[in-house]
């Protein structure tokens, strides 16, 4: 466990470092200075600005400075929104995005698993076909299409929910629904197929033979084993939810991190793009790491400190 943990941890740090380095040099390879705008500034001001943002130093020095600032969790100032730092923007946007992402994940996991279990128990029945059709539809409809559809139906045609912003639970319903359909569908399909596989196992037959109640068989014996594949996709699902927040926050005008990110892309505000990318990547890599560890804890058959069985 320990050696595996350390190995995984080091790999995580290396991946993160690669992302930071890659992002940094990509961003700095864009031709032109961020201050080259239509409004021509005085040469002296230009110089001062570049000095302020350390853009006059050689690239490798800037890189070193950026890394050492990162170690102090400082992502630097924004170029386009002066007097704001990337940290401040993230501090404001992240709680909102986290809330959105967290509720979405919960909804997706709960509803997806329920659909999957029901479908597996009614294998090849009407319910099975119905829920799997819903699942394929959920995978096929992009989240921004789902969002526009929900707005059109539940906010414009039948004004049940408000269209935009993030101020009350009522405001949260549509964005969460729009974001959750895709992941829900993926979880439903996975749960169904792994439940079907588990239900044919001998220990399930034994449990039935013992006369256990169906509820106990499903929840205590089948589900626990069927959940493993679902756990493995949680990391990549979190990634898709995260990128999904970009469009969802844009559509619903939610003041989250995704909105800052998309704005910074359109403004070419490189420190913000860089900072948010690194922040996002760090979260995702951490998620993948935790999922890996959780997997080992949930399934004792998988020995994390595997000694290369050959």
């Amino acid at each position: 466990m320990n050696t595996y943990f350390i190995k995984r941890f080091i790999a995580m740090i290396i991946t993160l470092w690669l992302i930071i380095t890659g992002t940094f040099f990509l961003m700095h390879s864009v031709p032109g200075s961020p201050f080259n705008e239509e409004r021509t500034t005085n040469e002296a001001i230009q110089k001062n600005l570049e000095a302020y943002y350390h853009l006059d130093e050689p690239l490798i020095v800037q890189y070193g400075n950026y890394l050492s600032a990162l170690l102090h969790l400082d992502l630097g100032p924004s170029i386009k929104k002066s007097s704001q730092t990337v940290n401040e923007m993230l501090g404001r946007g992240f709680p909102v995005s986290f809330e959105l992402g967290f509720y979405t994940l919960i909804l997706a996991v709960l509803s997806g698993m329920t659909l999957g279990i029901i479908a597996a128990l009614r294998h090849n029945g009407v319910v099975d076909y119905l829920s799997m059709s819903i699942a394929v539809l959920g995978i096929s409809i992009p989240n921004f299409v789902m969002a526009t559809f929900l707005i059109e139906q539940l906010a414009v045609n039948f004004p049940i929910f408000p269209v935009a912003t993030w101020s009350s639970p009522k405001h949260m319903v549509l964005p969460i629904l729009a974001l959750a359909t895709g992941p829900m569908a993926i979880i439903a399909r996975l749960t169904r197929s792994s439940m079907l596989e588990v239900l044919t196992q001998d220990y399930i037959r034994t449990a039935k033979a013992k006369g256990l109640s169906p509820v106990k068989i499903v929840f205590k014996h089948a589900l626990r084993n069927a959940l493993l594949p679902v756990v493995t996709v949680l990391g990549s699902l979190a990634a898709s939810i995260l990128t999904g927040t970009f469009v969802i926050e844009k559509i619903f005008a939610i003041p989250g991190m995704g909105k800052y990110f998309v704005d910074s892309i359109n403004n070419r505000d490189f420190p913000v793009i860089m900072g948010t990318t690194i922040f996002y990547s760090a979260i995702l890599i951490l998620m993948l790491f935790l999922v890996d560890l959780a997997y080992g804890v949930l399934d004792p058959r998988i020995k994390l400190h595997k000694k290369e069985a050959k």
Partner: protein, 317 residues
């Protein structure tokens, strides 16, 4: 005793015993194959034909391809011509899908968007296929240290959030069709490489590969002739699932303003334009592009599912 024997032999009283003649067993006849033998591909094809949903998806995709190729040609309107006298017209016999706020024909633009989507999806899948097969093939076939090193690299790339990388690349090299495809291919091939490598690792130990080796076949030829044909099933499935994700990525990027730029039409661009008019009731501007995105993704997904069932019946349920 005598009576029972009599009863046994006389199965039906109307048929005399003489009619019952033992069948002459002919060795060659017994071993003759009655049903024509089916190759793996034929067998899979018949199985796919029976899957109605997958066939419906395939039919839709064929129609979509026809629409993409001939739609802009048969339409009397061009993609980019703006006609400010006919803004936001609802669907009619003149404008089949209506017009947008600059008086452009939505039908032509949707067909043009189909071209872009299919092109992005197919080219991205093709690039993923080439890189993934070569990389995964070499890693799986060489094994050992080479494999270890190559897969380390893949693991790192695999840990990167796909759309985030794509967005970054788009920011750096600027929006456009070629950049979208380039950005999608940078990390897109990783999934394919993993699948091919896993398959090759498994198959390279089979006897026919060993036989091939004993004949002194060169590595490249073994990979091409022995290993790849036997990994084609999962590769095809992976490709059919890559296409919708590439199409989604293009629409997503265009939607947030990083993809195809005006005056070109893409479903994502059209959906983004249409979104702002949602309150004014010009439903056709949002409806047609989003309908086509969803139907196309749906068709590719069900076809991919169907292919998976058809090519790997063991996994079928």
């Amino acid at each position: 005793m005598e009576l029972r024997k009599q009863e046994e032999r006389n199965i039906s009283p109307d048929i005399p015993d003489e009619w019952f003649v033992p069948k002459v067993q002919n060795q060659s006849e017994a071993e003759a194959v009655v049903r024509p033998s089916l190759s793996y591909w034929k067998d899979s094809w018949y199985r796919l034909l029976k899957n109605k949903l997958a066939m419906a998806g395939m039919a839709f995709l064929i129609l979509l391809a026809i629409f993409a190729i001939f739609g802009p040609i048969i339409s009397p309107h061009s993609v980019e011509t703006q006609k400010l006298t006919s803004q936001n017209l609802p669907p009619s016999s003149e404008y089949w899908f209506g017009t947008d706020d600059l008086g452009r024909d939505v039908f032509t633009r949707t067909a043009y968007g189909a071209r872009i989507s299919l092109f992005v999806g197919l080219v991205a899948a093709l690039i993923d296929f080439i890189i993934g097969v070569v990389y995964g093939g070499i890693a799986g076939y060489k094994g050992g240290k080479t494999d270890n090193l190559m897969m380390r690299f893949v693991e790192i790339l695999y840990g990167l959030p796909y759309l985030l990388v794509v967005i970054l690349v788009m920011v750096v090299i600027g929006p456009g069709l070629t950049t979208i495809i380039l950005a999608l291919s940078i990390t897109g091939w990783v999934g394919m490489a993993r699948i091919v490598r896993g398959q090759v690792l498994q198959i390279k130990n089979y006897e026919f590969v060993l036989a091939s080796k004993t004949f002194g076949t060169k590595t490249g030829r073994i990979i091409r002739k022995n290993l790849l044909p036997n990994t084609m099933g999962p590769i095809i499935v992976q490709m059919t699932l890559t296409i919708p994700s590439a199409i989604f990525a293009e629409a997503f990027l265009s939607f947030i303003g990083l993809g195809i730029q005006a005056p070109h039409a893409s479903w994502g661009v059209m959906a983004n334009d249409g979104l702002s008019t949602i309150l004014s009731g010009y439903w056709w501007r949002l409806f047609f592009p989003t309908l086509f995105i969803s139907l196309t993704m749906f068709a590719f997904n069900v076809l991919g599912d169907g292919l998976q069932d058809a090519l790997d019946p063991k996994l079928r349920r």
